[in-house]
Symmetry: D2
Subunit: 297 residues, 4 copies
């Protein structure tokens, strides 16, 4: 059964302990079953305490990151690539320590607008490195989930088909796709077809609107998305993600170009999202049953 | 603010007093604010008692009918037409007595598959007669709402544009359109455009799926419908309608050709519909606000 | 490669030889590759001459019928059922004699609004009888294609899933589905899903709009239909069907309730349909290629 | 009547005279009626000769630009803003000299990913400056059309509603919106609603797919776009725009992050686009007529 999660930046971009704990409480209050955090630095956060709080609230947890330019594992510069591996390893450890099982985000290359087209060498270096990191992750009981993002945020993996080819090149069975409807809306020929073609290889899904605001108030055909996820039997985690200029993370807000205020009341936003996803998934399930019902007299 | 109603045949086709009262209780329990009944015969039903029960539960009420072949007001046979007028007048009285303000359904001609194309004379007779009935209705504080139905259920008014032309020909200001998404899906070039073009003239709306089952499990673009209703500022009643072979009304089930079992648990169906409509209307309202937000820095 | 056909009632409902031959010429002129006729009576039509004309123009041909009430093979009345078998056998012979390979339409029961729900006995009688007729058809090099129509035109097979169950019950490998987008729009939970679920069992497709007029001017998501046909590798015939009060067939126009004039210029209609389908199929093919393109750097 | 144009980068990013002239020939051959160029430097291009070639082929012409960072008219640095004004003035002169009437593109601020949110001062400076430039344009018989682009390409005007507010602040009657479906897909709550709300203020439209490739192979609801343009009576120019890694412009390809090869045969692409737009516009016109047809018997 799919757990419905929410990205913590709906609540706060702060990593102060009190804010993190309020984020957990809000997540629970709004009806979600999983919290997604960006990387949290154990030097500043009491991870053990946070893990207990997550467990007490019976929440799942996932961690997502975007590799920085100076920690890009696809780089020909060995020091840069090594820094990337270190970041990934620390993220895996954090995820395990919080009780999570999934690392998501932009793992194959750096996050942000590039100025050069990617090369086959980059692709190959990234795949080879990630294959090894995936072993570390496996040992920690954690999967790697490659977020497929739009052209302005990465130049390497922009479509699910590219992601599948990349995963194949890694040879790993511990690397999956992290699909995100916001990005799919820009890059995929057809988000629903892309999901169907990725059956068995989707590890995590972000449910976000085309403008990153309230679900259903943009151009994404969520019914089609939910139908496709139902058709392939996806029953793993899906997390709501939304950004507004109301909550600013210095790093992420700029790379994702958040200029507009799409909401101020995040509890209203979250509750609407929870209802929207729940009604959508239920409707998709009923549709799938109906379309195959033989209904003999 | 729109009231969300439900057609009583979701609950029961019986007009036994106990069944009618259970229908009211179910309607309330499932979260609806209005009940739509087909014509109830005061000879068999304690209307006063039912009216009090409706009022006690703080429910709205609407009555819908389909004229029978032998009570078709468009008929050249005066006795047939007179019978139709009598049916309409009794329906108006019933509606008033129950505390309602709207009569809906197929009022301009008979309900059921026809074998001949309609004539201009029929149209004119119907418009002239309905203009007079509308005065009676007005005196009773009740509006007439012409249900625009598909080709298999009437040959006279199949589109909103036809309905608007017909209303204009009546010259009455007490006749409105009763639109129904199930029928619009078959007849309208574009249900959303049809709604926009009917601004100010829509008195009642049926929200039904293309196959008459669970909302969202068919081919209707409800987001487009809710957007159009929002765009024209429709804030009047909308009622969920669904038919399944589970609940049979001898008259209606045959004219509407209900052969398949699209649901068995009507409370589940109703609650899903209530959530689906509520989330849909909220989403449409938020989208309309967002699309006009100037968002200056 | 799919051939794009057209139903002859776009051109004329007459079966006078000259009209039939003009229909062929129009079909060719508008760019279609196949003509679909309703049953033509060899007593009145020079079938050999028509067949040569079809061959000369390098057109394909398909025949569709709807069994009459007095020739319903699902009937418990043996004389009625036998009349139905006779009609089917004559249709098979006609199809073969014209050089065609497909019989389509409402073959399992009678065409028209029913007043009683179907029974399991009807279903079983129909399946058993059709299994035998399918052998006759096979010997003639012709397939039977069961048109799945809406509730107002038949009570037995309204969805593709019902059709598949019925075909399975016949045990025949010479019976396929004849899907029609007009009917699917009313009955299917999701036309595209229904097509995907029927992979390998679709023998013929009608492309018709929700109101039976110009393609694209109604509520059907043709892009979704073309995507689904592409996804399952359907590369067989698809025929455009449209009805308007402009061209009346006494039998069909009433059963299908054609009251409105949706077009007057049938050549304009046909050419638009041809372009619409061709652009739609090309676009679907390109989309399917794109969504799987690995696009490694 | 709308002219259907095409952006020259479908054909070539070169501004060598021979390439420009081949671009015109291709444009004509593919059936387009207007060519859109990015700014062409009169120091390198024989503008008079190009203008005659355009006139000889009976083509329309439009010029689009994106202001560079060092020519941003919203800048507080006067030298930067003055450079921007100079660029705009030269673009207006070029447009006039080529026989065009429209300047489009990103005129209110610089093109490219920003790292800071915009300020009200920027907005005000840009509006005041553009009001003056619009007078220069008016004298040259040219309109300014503000391209509303996605968040990754500008931080100032991302939605049509922002554009309308900005135009109002300029006080000019010679500034219009240049809408682009690719960008609308990312930023607008509803592209069709945004178009309806901008009635009378749209001067130019880019028809581009969500991934910038073949029309119809992405996530944009072009039927809805064409319906909305038809509903507001837009009958001005619309140009097809598509980018692929096949044709690289050093400046534009990086700012727009073109990494994938979405087509190689540009003539096939262009012809498909021409057919797709023509069929789409015709269908929208017919739908709009049908939805208002009174169709009295």
């Amino acid at each position: 059964m799919a757990r419905i999660g929410i990205h913590s930046f709906v609540w706060s971009a702060s990593s102060a302990q009190a804010d993190l704990e309020r984020t957990l409480a809000n997540t629970k209050e709004a009806g979600f079953e999983l919290i997604e955090f960006s990387y949290l630095d154990p030097a500043n956060v009491d991870i053990g305490r946070l893990a207990r709080r997550i467990a007490d609230l019976d929440l799942g947890v996932a961690i997502s990151i975007g590799l920085p330019a100076n920690g890009d594992i696809s780089s020909a510069d060995r020091a840069v690539a090594a820094r990337g591996v270190d970041i990934l390893n620390r993220t895996i450890a954090l995820t395990r320590d919080l009780g999570g099982r999934k690392v998501g985000g932009i793992l194959s290359t750096s996050h942000g607008l590039q100025t050069e087209a990617p090369t086959r060498d980059q692709w190959n270096r990234s795949a080879a490195t990630l294959a090894k990191v995936a072993e570390t992750a496996k040992a920690a009981g954690v999967t790697l989930n490659l977020e497929i993002v739009n052209r302005f945020e990465s130049n390497l993996l922009n479509t699910a088909a590219q992601g599948l080819a990349f995963i194949e090149d890694t040879g790993s069975d511990n690397i999956f796709l992290h699909l995100d409807t916001f990005h799919m809306n820009i890059e995929e020929a057809d988000a629903a077809l892309a999901i169907r073609n990725a059956v068995g290889k989707i590890g995590y899904v972000h449910i976000g609107e085309s403008h990153r605001g309230f679900l259903g108030t943009g151009s994404i055909d969520f019914a089609g998305i939910f139908d496709a996820l139902t058709a392939i039997g996806y029953d793993d985690d899906l997390s709501f993600e939304s950004f507004s200029s109301e909550i600013v993370d210095e790093n992420l807000s700029k790379k994702t170009a958040i200029w507009r205020n799409l909401w101020t009341d995040n509890m209203e936003l979250a509750r609407h999202a929870r209802r929207f996803i729940a009604v959508g998934l239920e409707t998709a399930r009923r549709k799938a049953e109906l379309v195959t019902a033989t209904q003999k007299p």
